[in-house]
């Protein structure tokens, strides 16, 4: 469009000057229509974001839901025999994830009741809410209200009924709440780096979700991470030296864990999610966030700044990172599940959506569960925990003085530290030497 007048609508300029100089609007001004269906009036959210006033409410909604459904089907995230746990924080992203999963379930139930042979069962859905007040005491004030609100929200999403699991973050240490809280506080106090502390809490949060999922028979964990959150993650990972493990974290499926994690909203941006909440009247609860002062916060501000300059920057960042090679576990694992319907099994095999679970070629950091890069291994085998961790966790989470490492290890939850015992350094030279020892003429190793 060549028109340079300010306030000109992208649809074309309709103002024209009369002879006496005042502006007149063309009588035949076209009514704005949804660019997709071309029949309804477009929705304006008035939030200053891009693409405002282009789609009508229905098309917008079906667009977002369509992305969700495509992600679910093309990555075999939820199949009829699954039992799915939705991680719900009360925020917009997880609220939308919960809503969409619920709608998927309702549709499946409808089909089940309508079908004659009832061959395809309806997948089960549960909801998990992590109570972080032990880590962030400032949250404890509003926590009981928040939990009550979560409970009523989950109740409203039935039928089909969904179990709610309120998981205190300290539950990774055990069921005795007082002792567990104490251990959590001790552990967090021993981490001096602010960013390290925040990240350690994220890892503990995931552990607690995994715990509640596996203890209650769920086989999928739905996390509502959207494109925008992943864009921040790409940059924080880069900045912390975690370039190797980055590609593991940003795929649709993350099956490193006992209960595989799926990200059905990975292709939706924050703006779409907030708009959808507004459109559908989905209520969210924003717990007073503990002020983030470290690197994570700096990166969020940076991404917000970049978004201002170019609203599609988040998508470009995630698209770039998506070009990195994923790992073998970024697919749903193959299981000998007899209750998986034949139709599903055939489909999964046909599209190569699963991987053979016995192909474990990676070692993982016990704290962040990131795949370890071979070059990361430390030279001196002083401490088993230090050896086992990735370089990023070594710097920002582990204590710097070697003498404190043992004590720190005792503070970690059992699940993390138990992995360290299994991690053995494979010395190929010694191994080979053992094999050919009887044929070596000289004892001296330098003779080789």
């Amino acid at each position: 469009m060549a028109c340079n007048s300010s306030g000109c609508e992208s649809g074309g300029c309709y103002g024209r000057e009369k002879d006496n100089g005042c502006k007149v609007v063309d009588v035949k001004e076209t009514v704005r229509l949804c660019v997709k269906c071309k029949s309804n009036e477009p929705m304006t959210f008035g939030d200053g974001g891009s693409d405002d006033g282009r789609f009508c409410a229905e098309c917008f909604r079906s667009n977002v839901y369509g992305k969700f459904r495509l992600a679910v089907t093309s990555h075999a995230m939820i199949t009829p025999s699954d039992n799915v746990l939705v991680a719900f924080s009360g925020g917009s992203s997880s609220r939308v994830a919960l809503q969409f999963v619920h709608e998927l379930q309702v549709k499946a139930l409808k089909n089940y009741e309508a079908s004659r042979d009832r061959s395809l069962p309806v997948f089960g859905v549960g909801v998990a809410f992590v109570d972080e007040s032990a880590a962030y005491p400032s949250l404890s004030g509003g926590m009981s209200d928040a939990i009550a609100w979560v409970r009523s929200t989950v109740l409203s999403l039935s039928p089909p009924e969904k179990d709610l699991h309120v998981v205190p973050i300290e539950s990774v240490f055990g069921s005795d709440s007082v002792e567990a809280r104490d251990r959590l506080v001790k552990l967090l106090d021993s981490v001096s780096d602010e960013t390290g502390k925040e990240d350690l809490l994220l890892h503990l949060k995931m552990l607690s979700l995994q715990k509640v999922a596996s203890e209650n028979g769920y086989n999928r964990l739905v996390v509502g991470s959207c494109t925008s959150r992943l864009a921040s993650h790409v940059l924080t990972a880069t900045v912390k030296g975690r370039g190797y493990s980055l590609s593991a974290d940003i795929q649709h499926v993350d099956a490193r864990w006992k209960v595989p994690i799926v990200l059905p909203l990975r292709d939706c941006v924050w703006q779409e999610i907030t708009r959808l909440c507004h459109l559908d009247g989905l209520k969210t609860v924003e717990l007073a966030r503990h002020p983030q002062s470290g690197i994570n916060d700096l990166v969020s501000s940076f991404v917000a700044l970049l978004q201002e300059e170019n609203p599609s920057r988040e998508c470009t960042i995630v698209r770039t990172a998506a070009k990195l090679t994923p790992f073998y576990f970024n697919k749903i694992p193959e299981t000998d599940d007899s209750c998986v319907p034949m139709a599903t099994q055939r489909r999964l095999k046909k599209f190569n959506l699963k991987y053979d679970g016995s192909m474990t070629t990676e070692a993982f950091c016990p704290i962040c569960n990131g795949p370890l890069n071979g070059s990361d291994s430390s030279e001196d085998e002083s401490d088993a925990l230090y050896d086992a961790c990735c370089s990023s966790c070594r710097f920002q989470i582990l204590p710097q003085e070697p003498s404190s490492l043992d004590h720190f290890g005792s503070l970690l939850p059992h699940h993390m530290i138990s992995q360290v015992k299994h991690h053995q350094k494979f010395d190929s030279q010694t191994y080979l030497r053992e094999k050919i020892k009887d044929c070596l003429l000289l004892d001296d190793e330098e003779a080789v």
Binding site: L235, V239, Y244, L298, L324, N373
Partner: protein, 359 residues
Amino acid sequence: MEASEAKIKKQGASRLCCLCNQRRPVLKRPKTLQQICKECFYEVFEEEIHQVIVKNGLFKSGERVAIGASGGKDSTVLAYVLSELNRRHSYGLDLFLLSIDEGITGYRDDSLETVKRNELQYGLPLQILSYKDLYGWTMDDIVKMIGLKNNCTFCGVFRRQALDRGAALLKVDKLVTGHNADDIAETVLLNILRGDIARLSRCTSITTGEDGPIPRCKPFKYTYEKEIVMYAYFKKLDYFSTECIYSPNAYRGFAREFIKDLERLRPRAILDIIKSGEDFRIATTTKMPEQGTCERCGYISSQKWCKACVLLDGLNRGLPKMGIGRARGGVNGDHQKETKKPASAARSLESKQCGSLDF
């Protein structure tokens, strides 16, 4: 008594240099935050660079090496340190200074004076090449035509070729540039932000272009910009310290600001970014574009015409947008379309050929 003791402790006057434990510390090392004396700083600074050179096998004895010299702090310190290490550790190198005059008044003409002084101070022979001689355009002319956006693209592309031509003139085996850790970290971030996965896989290499006309390496890959400034400051080295007058609008500015903030929070993050860049799992198939030669000037190119020729052609025809942004309609698509139009606009400008050196 306690208050003043605490005050002295804060000033570090009662402390000694962490490394030699003899002298008084005068600075806090940006990379490690250690409090050290001047002499120890020189030592660790120079020794770390020496280790980078040795561990990465950057040079071979007897090589002729050109140092890309702009007169700025990076290249001045590079020239100084390299000639010092060459002498101290007997690298056996023949060093030269190579400078490019982009024709930016009030910036480049001043910094060139610095390089001429460096020639005398360090005893290294100097060669200067100008955009005017090579391409027929100065950066001032280019900015007058295209404005202040995308001008860095022109300058960068032209300079890269100019350095290669200068290196060929000097008959050197290798080119070294003063790109420091901050530069490389910025480049890694920029490539992520801009979606350039191919460049992302190459930008952390310490040596590039081994299969091209002149390999070039970056001995300062792990050296912090702040430490380079500190070194130049304490050694009282002669350098030109103004920012290019056309740079404020560069997109790189975003990445630079961010990295400055990051360095304040966690100094080692700069090296962590470089490490991430090296560790990214990028399929080798995405790495190298097919290498050929430019039809117009014979320079190395992955397309029919090298980027410099495309840009130059655009300038000469009065079509400054040519070569900027994504190519449409196949290789050098815009170029093919434009040949059919009457070049009436270009008639007023003399057709200026790309330099005449053959490769």
